[in-house]
């Protein structure tokens, strides 16, 4: 019956279709008569059915189990047992709820269905738990830092003359923002070109040597960040006497994020379709041209994501900076000389103080850091949300315009040389979409 969906339900029970438009046009002397079988009528017949698996009794079971869980645990907590604490209450409530739900479902369903329901319940609550907990971490930081970050001076001053007991209208994090940006800039300046070249090498020049490098890079992703800091501390600071500085911190960060960037870019480059590269090589392009004009543009969004995620990691790392940057309340623009403060380190030192205002400042610093990371992440999502080779509408238009230009140029040249070339075909395609 469903194949006749095109027929209007208002049509008569038996429709005698004599010929039809096709048949009349064919001018045949004898048109065929088709008898369409009757279909059940009535407006209720075509009601849209719900495909959701939840029936009303399922809702009752969930609500009932939840009510039973909270109240049973409530009785346990307040009347019967020596239990205390909200967290324990929530956890025990959850277990009781699961048990009650299992019992309720088992009254009118088979065991397989019961298991399905229970696991769905558990999976939903675990997902909710993680997302809620992570959201709460961010919310808590912003909320505790709110008192500090609403003051404008928080963004325009450093803390050179601010005491821990001073009110929040004095002192700010400008020196740490500047320090973070300088350190991040140097670290990315070292790690990004090196990382991208190494990733291209791993991908474009295969062989035993590049396999070996890949293994070493994979091993280095296991390097705990504090050990990268310790390495820079022992070399640049203790042996070369550079002193705690922005450059030392940036080198430690570069050592930390270099393997991350290489691995992420390697994965992205691997996603570029081999046929694209082969097409380019088959057209006679050199490896270098293929890499520059095919491989890198195709993987651009993914590479940008790799770099930005590396930057987000570098901006938030505290451990390497703790060992190598030194701590200062002064603004320092010279990365080669003198201590340089960064946001995570400032937050870390501020909250060690016992004063309330200093702790609020620490949370404010952490909030600024968090907002920076959020911004970076959003940029990464906007750039890297597409797969390799996928273009935006604007990119597609630009690409089409470029290929029209190429077609014009080539046809002009061929007209000039006088070679017979199917120019008209290209012109026709040009007129298409």
């Amino acid at each position: 019956m469903t194949v006749l969906r095109g027929v209007q339900p208002t049509a008569a029970d038996t429709t005698e279709v004599v010929g039809g438009p096709e048949a009349t046009r064919s001018e045949g002397p004898q048109a065929h008569a088709t008898t369409v079988p009757s279909r059940p009528t009535g407006p209720n017949d075509q009601r849209r059915r719900r495909t959701s698996g939840l029936r009303r009794s399922d809702w009752f079971a969930i609500i009932g189990a939840f009510a039973a869980g909270t109240t049973t645990t409530g009785v346990l907590w307040t009347q019967l047992g020596p239990f205390t604490g909200a967290l324990g209450y929530v956890i025990v409530t959850w277990f009781v709820t699961v048990l009650c739900y299992a019992a309720l479902v088992s009254f009118d369903e088979s065991r397989a269905v019961m298991r399905d329901r229970i696991s769905a319940f558990v999976v939903h609550s675990l997902g909710l738990l993680l997302i809620a907990a992570l959201g709460f971490v961010i919310e808590y930081t912003l909320q505790r830092g709110w008192r500090a970050i609403i003051h404008l001076n928080f963004y325009t001053e450093d803390v050179r003359s601010t005491l821990a007991t001073d009110p929040l209208t004095k002192g700010g994090v400008l020196h740490a923002i500047i320090g973070t940006l300088i350190e991040l800039g140097i670290a990315l300046g070292i790690a990004v070109p090196l990382g991208l070249i190494a990733a291209i090498y791993l991908h474009e020049v295969p062989g035993r040597f590049s396999r070996f490098i890949r293994t070493v890079v994979e091993a280095m992703t296991a390097l705990p960040d504090i050990i990268a800091g310790l390495f820079i501390y022992a070399t640049l600071i203790l042996i070369f006497h550079l002193g705690p500085s922005g450059f030392a911190a940036a080198s430690a960060l570069a050592v930390t994020i270099l393997p991350i960037i290489i691995r992420a870019s390697d994965v992205v480059l691997r996603l570029v379709p081999g046929s694209l590269k082969e097409a380019s090589l088959a057209l006679g392009a050199s490896r270098w041209r293929t890499t520059w004009h095919v491989l890198l543009p195709t993987a651009r969004s993914g590479l940008a994501t790799a770099v930005i995620l590396g930057a987000a990691r570098a901006i938030g790392e505290t451990a390497p900076v703790l060992l190598t940057a030194g701590a200062t309340g002064y603004m320092n623009l010279n990365p080669l000389h003198g201590s340089m403060m960064s946001l995570p380190l400032l937050a870390f030192t501020q909250v060690q103080a016992p004063e309330k205002n200093e702790i609020a400042r620490g949370f404010g610093t952490a909030s600024v850091l968090l907002i920076l990371v959020l911004l970076l992440f959003i940029i990464a999502r906007v750039i890297g949300g597409r797969g390799p080779g996928e273009l935006t509408a604007r990119g597609r238009r630009a690409r089409a315009a470029a290929s029209r230009r190429d077609a014009r140029r080539m046809s002009a040249r061929h007209a000039h040389i006088g070679v017979a070339y199917p120019v008209t075909v290209e012109r026709q395609e040009e007129a298409g979409p």
């Binding site: 769905a120 390097l223 022992a234 949370f363 952490a366 968090l370």
Partner: protein, 332 residues
């Protein structure tokens, strides 16, 4: 087949007739790769060399000693390694069920319109700085979770690892500080940090489970959970192990969040709910400043021990993932 019927099959030499630009390109690429290699090997050998000074001075006692006094008395990693591993295990025990549940929720249960948002949210969490988690753990969670610690130790204190020294079980007047700064609290905070990482590895693999097999399971009458158990989980097993190991590697090396919560204690302390513990990275963060040159190389020896541990974990993860089906798919 006689040999004269076959044309002689000499292995031909492949000549790559690269132009100048290509040669330069290849040279630059090889140079970059070699530079990275040199850098990495430099870090490795330097760490090993400096660590060797301390190791050769301490000998076997480096593994068995609990205290840390490089400039007098003995030093060893027995306490800090045990502390590190315990924190990481607590973190994994909390993080893996949660990460797996979240991954299954996102890939199997979540409505399609919020799926992308959830994926972005979890990925974002993997980028949140550790100092933020540390702040949350030290200022919020620590004081809320104490009641849970007390509850566990009251009712399960007969299990040795849940015992808390210094307080009686069921003592209503027991001081809160007996339960703060513990392995358990540090582990829970680290769990929140590693759960998003493990979750995104697992979610990606679950999402790749073949549609044909899923529908086959449904067609045979499986419930959704039946389908998950018979198709999605076996397919993603490698990723579950891989994500767990990746999280474990991160948890072993975590510094700042741990430093902000624990109070250092240099003895093997297996009671996870009790005040005070230690870890290798927090030891380095706390002691590097006042360390003598020999003390630095002792710290490096501890760092190398930690590095070797995380290296084993990572290679284990890579091995498991590469042998599983889900790993094979991601290679394409």
């Amino acid at each position: 087949m006689s040999s004269d019927m076959m044309p002689t099959q000499v292995k031909r030499k492949l000549v790559d007739n690269a132009g100048l630009a290509d040669k330069v390109f290849r040279g630059v690429a090889r140079g970059g790769g070699s530079l990275v290699l040199v850098l990495m090997v430099l870090v490795g050998t330097f760490l090993a060399y400096r660590a060797w000074q301390a190791l050769s001075a301490a000998g076997v006692s480096f593994i068995t000693t609990e205290q840390w006094n490089p400039d007098g008395g003995g030093f060893g990693i027995a306490a800090v390694i045990v502390g590190t591993v315990l924190i990481a295990f607590v973190a994994i025990a909390v993080a893996v069920p949660v990460a797996m549940g979240t991954a299954l929720y996102i890939s199997e249960y979540a409505p399609r319109r919020i799926k992308r948002t959830l994926v972005a949210l979890v990925d974002l969490m993997a980028a949140v700085p550790s100092v933020v988690f540390g702040l949350w753990g030290a200022f919020f969670l620590q004081w809320k979770i104490v009641s849970l610690s007390r509850w566990i130790s009251d009712w399960f204190g007969w299990i040795p690892i849940f015992k808390v020294g210094g307080v009686e079980r069921h003592d209503p007047l027991a001081t809160q500080t007996a339960y703060t700064s513990s392995t358990f609290i540090a582990g829970v905070v680290v769990a929140l940090m590693v759960a998003p990482i493990a979750c995104s590895v697992m979610r990606e693999a679950f999402g790749l489970a073949p549609v044909g097999e899923r529908e086959g399971a449904y067609a045979l009458g499986a419930t959704r959970w039946g389908m998950i158990r018979s198709v999605v989980l076996p397919f993603g097993r490698g990723a579950v192990v891989g994500g767990t190991m990746l999280g474990l590697g991160r948890a072993l090396g975590e510094t700042i969040a741990v430093v902000m919560i624990i109070s250092p204690r240099f003895e093997i302390q297996p009671r996870v709910l009790e005040h005070g513990t230690s870890s290798v990275s927090s030891l380095i963060a706390l002691r590097y400043g006042e360390a003598s040159p020999f003390g630095i190389s002792a710290l490096m020896a501890a760092g190398v021990a930690l590095f070797v541990l995380t290296l084993l974990v990572n290679f284990g993860a890579a091995f498991v993932v590469s042998r599983s089906r889900s790993g094979a798919v991601s290679e394409v």
